[in-house]
């Protein structure tokens, strides 16, 4: 009823090409942003911000990064965790080498270090395809993870082998470290994620995005159409690793406040890949939905049964969480292989023609 486009005419090309062609969508996005920027920090408690919203946004960003590579360019990568790690360690090194510069600059700059590493490990992608490439990216995962443990320069020769984040300020307000409130960290995270999502959206709707999608759909055909494969694939690796790197830096600086190499293990890579697949390959909205689903589901499973009066041992909960997560992944793949994003589209389509079936 409310979701109708009747009476909205497109009078120029710009409005025809708009990402949100329907007025209700534009209102919706403004409302979501308002809620995220104003309502959530104002009404949300510490638990909501610290344990749910901040990690959800960070994982969304990493998911967008992997989605650019796997969903848009069709290159399957299992090295996401390591690229996030590169971002985190690069940010840590930069921040300790040049403490005068604001940490947000370094969080973004760390993405470039990650991008460089990503390009390096993306080089085989021209020759190796499909699952072979996926396993080749595991080489990056294991090699980089080994570096995080064995190269002491990366963590400034700490005896603990972990990186720790001190307090940094922006306009006199602490934004990292133990003194920063979760509200400030949430707002910083949200701002970075919104800006980078906007950038990614422009990227995939433009020439570069079309090139990526052409390569994904059939790389030989794309080559014949004049798309140079190597630069295109490497660009995808670079941008993807950039996003993952920034997400990794944010993970350590704005959420954990310190990390060891274990954080960036192979499981992290799989975790992000789950989010991409469950959310929907080749969809930015799907990245958010997938991150929300995969990240919040275990929390939900952990906290809800006690509240409804069921007492389960923690270990059992852990096992059942595993079982349910696995089962739900299979269930979702069977019901909707194109992910939550497609589900949302179907729902929107139904809403537009309601009360008629089509």
């Amino acid at each position: 009823m409310l979701y109708r486009e009747a009476g909205q005419f497109k009078t120029n090309y710009a409005s025809d090409l708009a990402i949100f062609p329907i007025l209700q969508d534009r209102i919706g996005i403004v409302v979501i942003l308002l809620v995220a920027f104003v309502a959530v920090p104002y009404f949300g408690n510490d638990f909501l911000l610290q344990a749910i919203m901040i990690p959800f946004l960070i994982f969304s960003l990493a998911t967008i990064g992997l989605n650019l590579l796997t969903g848009y360019t069709g290159l399957l990568s299992l090295g996401t965790g390591a690229f996030m790690g590169v971002g985190a360690y690069a940010c840590y090194k930069l921040e300790t080498l040049f403490p005068g510069v604001n940490v947000i600059v370094w969080i973004v700059a760390a993405g470039f270090a990650s991008a460089a590493v990503g390009v390096l490990f993306g080089l085989p992608s021209l020759r190796i395809k499909g699952f072979y490439l996926a396993i080749a990216t595991l080489a990056a995962q294991f090699f980089l993870q080994w570096c995080f443990v064995r190269v002491p320069w990366l963590f400034n020769y700490n005896t603990s082998g972990a990186i720790e984040v001190g307090t940094h300020t922006l306009f006199g307000i602490p934004i990292t470290g133990p003194n920063a409130t979760s509200t400030t960290r949430y707002l910083i995270t949200l701002s970075i994620v919104v800006v980078m999502t906007w950038f990614a959206s422009n990227l995939v709707h433009g020439r570069i995005g079309r090139m990526w999608m052409a390569v994904r759909d059939m790389d030989i055909a794309a080559e014949l159409m004049g798309i140079r494969l190597l630069p295109t694939k490497l660009l995808a690796f670079a941008v993807s690793s950039f996003y993952c790197g920034v997400a990794g830096a944010m993970l350590v600086f704005l959420w954990y406040g310190g990390a060891e190499a274990d954080v960036f293990s192979i499981n992290q890579s799989f975790f992000i890949l789950f989010m991409v697949i469950v959310g929907g390959l080749g969809s930015l909205l799907g990245s958010f939905l997938g991150a929300a689903f995969i990240f919040i589901l275990p929390i939900f499973l952990r906290y809800v049964p006690p509240h409804v009066g069921m007492t389960i041992f923690p270990a059992t909960v852990e096992h059942i969480t595993f079982m349910i997560t696995g089962g739900l992944i299979i269930f979702f793949l069977i019901v909707e292989p194109h992910g939550l994003a497609r589900l949302w589209q179907t729902a929107k389509q139904k809403l537009r023609v309601w009360p008629f079936p089509y």
């Binding site: 020759r127 190796i128 699952f131 396993i135 064995r150 595993f322 079982m323 997560t325 299979i330």
Partner: protein, 326 residues
């Protein structure tokens, strides 16, 4: 100086202590056999259904854990003869692996026929998670001791006096190698001589063509998953007898992946040769060159070996040539 350490020093060491070299080589060979077994399970399923079965590693653990778990239950129920209980447990575990294969086919594969590869790949991820949760829930998360003695697996070791030194060979390793070769020969015969084997190869070639000549895909998939379940069980027993049975074993699946790309996804000989190359390369590399980089290079060395091979042969050593049509 560095060049000397990389190119000359290790070989000098090898020449100086040939018995140590043979020992390392043997250890690599044994590790290689086990990698090859895991890779074999992958290849069986990939050949027949085009599914990259990530759950193979967890099936190894699950098989071993089920075997030990059932054995413990049987002993608790009062089957006093340990050997009887062990073999009864083995039989029951094979039954469980069949149920698993059947369930996977019914619940996961059938509804996902014709989906893109990556979706099926993700589904096996779901299966992995489910099996981890299920296995820990039923059998507990603590590590267990494999019932190697009760299954009449040999233990102890043989000392060979060769090359002016002593090389000790674990009997269990020899048994593993023998069993592995028997199994591979059996599978090869099964694939080439029997009716079902021919049907399997037909399915591997083309699902549609196989369907059109009246081969039941459902049946074939159950058989293939069951076969790789058995391979997983044998791997689990062998690996479990060397160390212990716990979910830490799942990392060996990740170790076996380079074997897979080295040998090619579709080749059984490739899985074996690849396994041996990786196993030997890993052990020798870590033993002679590891000190240069700091220890622990085992975790990624195999991937780099595989990557180098792959740059020259993108379909693996024995894989079918990838032909792309436009």
């Amino acid at each position: 100086m560095l060049l000397y350490k990389i190119f000359i020093d290790p070989f000098v060491q090898m020449g100086a202590a040939p018995d140590l070299f043979v020992q390392t080589l043997w250890e690599g060979l044994v590790a290689g056999v086990l990698y090859a077994l895991i890779a074999l399970g992958f290849v069986l399923i990939f050949k027949a259904s085009g599914v990259f079965n990530f759950a193979q590693g967890i099936m190894v653990v699950f098989g071993a854990l089920t075997l030990v778990g059932i054995y413990e239950i049987l002993v608790r129920w009062g089957i006093s003869q340990e050997n009887v209980a062990a073999f009864l447990a083995l039989g029951l575990t094979i039954g469980v692996m069949f149920l698993l294969a059947f369930g996977v086919e019914r619940i996961i594969l059938k509804p996902l026929v014709n989906q893109p590869d990556i979706i099926l790949f993700m589904a096996t991820f779901g299966l992995t998670y489910f099996l981890i949760g299920f296995g820990e829930y039923v059998f507990g998360g603590s590590s267990k001791v494999m019932i190697a003695d009760q299954l009449y697996l040999p233990k102890g070791f043989i000392d060979l006096k060769i090359l002016g030194g002593v090389v000790s060979l674990q009997k269990i390793d020899i048994a593993a190698a023998v069993i592995a070769s028997i199994m591979v020969t059996g599978l090869a015969l099964f694939f080439s001589k029997t009716r079902i084997g021919r049907a399997l190869r037909a399915v591997a070639d083309s699902h549609k063509a196989a369907l059109s000549v009246g081969i039941s895909l459902d049946q074939i998939w159950v058989i293939v998953w069951f076969a790789s379940g058995l391979v997983a069980l044998v791997t689990g027993i062998m690996w479990g007898a060397r160390s212990e049975v716990s979910f830490a074993l799942e990392v060996i699946a990740l170790r076996a992946l380079p074997v897979l790309i080295l040998g090619g996804f579709t080749s059984i000989p490739g899985a074996i040769v690849g396994g041996l190359i990786i196993g030997i390369g890993e052990k020798l590399g870590d033993f002679y060159w590891g000190a240069l980089l700091g220890r622990g290079i085992e975790s990624w060395l195999a991937y780099f070996i595989a990557l180098v091979f792959l740059l020259f042969r993108p379909q693996g050593l024995f894989g079918e040539k990838i032909i792309e049509r436009v």
